[in-house]
């Protein structure tokens, strides 16, 4: 059994011991509470964490290494998604040092872009059949409304969404 050990030391003080080959779910212990992370999201967290090992110019067009600022917030978001039992579909670094997380349901998807620093805004984009449908700054309000559009467009949403 192989374990991925990752540590992120920042204001959030989180430590992960994730086994993303395991058939069982992983758990993240924060200084607040224990959060169960499923296999898909464990793998997404490991992938995001691995972006810190990229070299400058990783895309051959001058891309910058993802910043701790974007990495920490992307991981926090995946942890939040896990609490809502929502899986990450796809994640990549952005050329300016940010992180993109994509969620997908049938022909609809959401792209959340975590900016590289606090001077830039995070954004959320809704796509339907691979066309941009709507776009906003990312905050708690847009996060919840866009997630409702993705997951429960008929209005029959889980209680905590």
């Amino acid at each position: 059994m192989s374990y991925l050990n990752t540590s992120v030391n920042n204001n959030f003080d989180m430590h992960f011991d994730l086994d993303y080959n395991s058939s069982t779910n992983n758990e993240i212990y924060t200084n607040v509470k224990r959060i169960e992370i499923n296999k898909a999201n464990s793998k997404a967290i490991a992938t995001i964490q691995s972006f810190s090992n990229l070299n400058e110019n990783w895309d051959s067009y001058g891309a910058e290494v993802p910043t701790n600022y974007s990495i920490i917030r992307a991981i926090n978001f995946v942890t939040w998604l896990s609490q809502k039992q929502i899986d990450v579909y796809f994640t990549i670094p952005l050329p300016d040092g940010g992180i993109l997380i994509e969620l997908k349901e049938n022909n609809a998807s959401l792209e959340i872009e975590f900016a590289e620093n606090e001077n830039e805004k995070d954004s959320i984009t809704a796509n339907y059949e691979d066309e941009v449908n709507a776009e906003d700054d990312f905050n708690d309000t847009t996060r919840d409304s866009y997630l409702r559009w993705l997951i429960c467009p008929d209005g029959n949403c889980p209680g905590d969404l």
């Binding site: 001058g62 579909y89 952005l94 050329p95 691979d130």
Partner: protein, 119 residues
């Protein structure tokens, strides 16, 4: 140098650490997005380069081709392709204009993968 509608331009897409291909095999529009400080999207003019030269490292990148006429006339909306040679790359061009997420999506949809020639 005049860039013709018949011309094609080439763009590298990362395939390994990180991988711009999604689980369903499609590529992300980010492959056709510019950085904030860029004057345009870097591409190579196909007729002034080779696949081998443009791909740089086939174990890390795939190469995609897009037609200049499609960029200028179909995706349109102020996009242009301008010749922008570099000291180490005479084929270098820029797709200029405001490349929004929607336009990056259009560029992605109109791009076709270029296979390496057989040895």
């Amino acid at each position: 140098m005049e860039i013709l509608d018949e011309d094609n331009v080439l763009r590298r897409v990362p395939t390994f650490l990180p991988n711009y291909f999604k689980p369903d095999g499609s590529i992300t529009r980010v492959a056709f997005s510019t950085k904030k400080d860029e004057d345009g999207l870097s591409v190579n003019l196909e007729r002034l380069t080779t696949v081998e030269k443009s791909i740089l490292n086939p174990s890390k990148f795939k190469l995609f081709k897009i037609n200049v006429g499609v960029v200028k006339n179909e995706i349109n909306d102020d996009l242009d392709v301008v010749y922008n040679p570099k000291e180490d790359n005479e084929a270098h061009c820029l797709i200029t204009g405001n490349i929004t997420k929607g336009k990056a999506n259009q560029l992605k949809k109109n791009a076709n993968e270029v296979n390496l020639p057989e040895k």
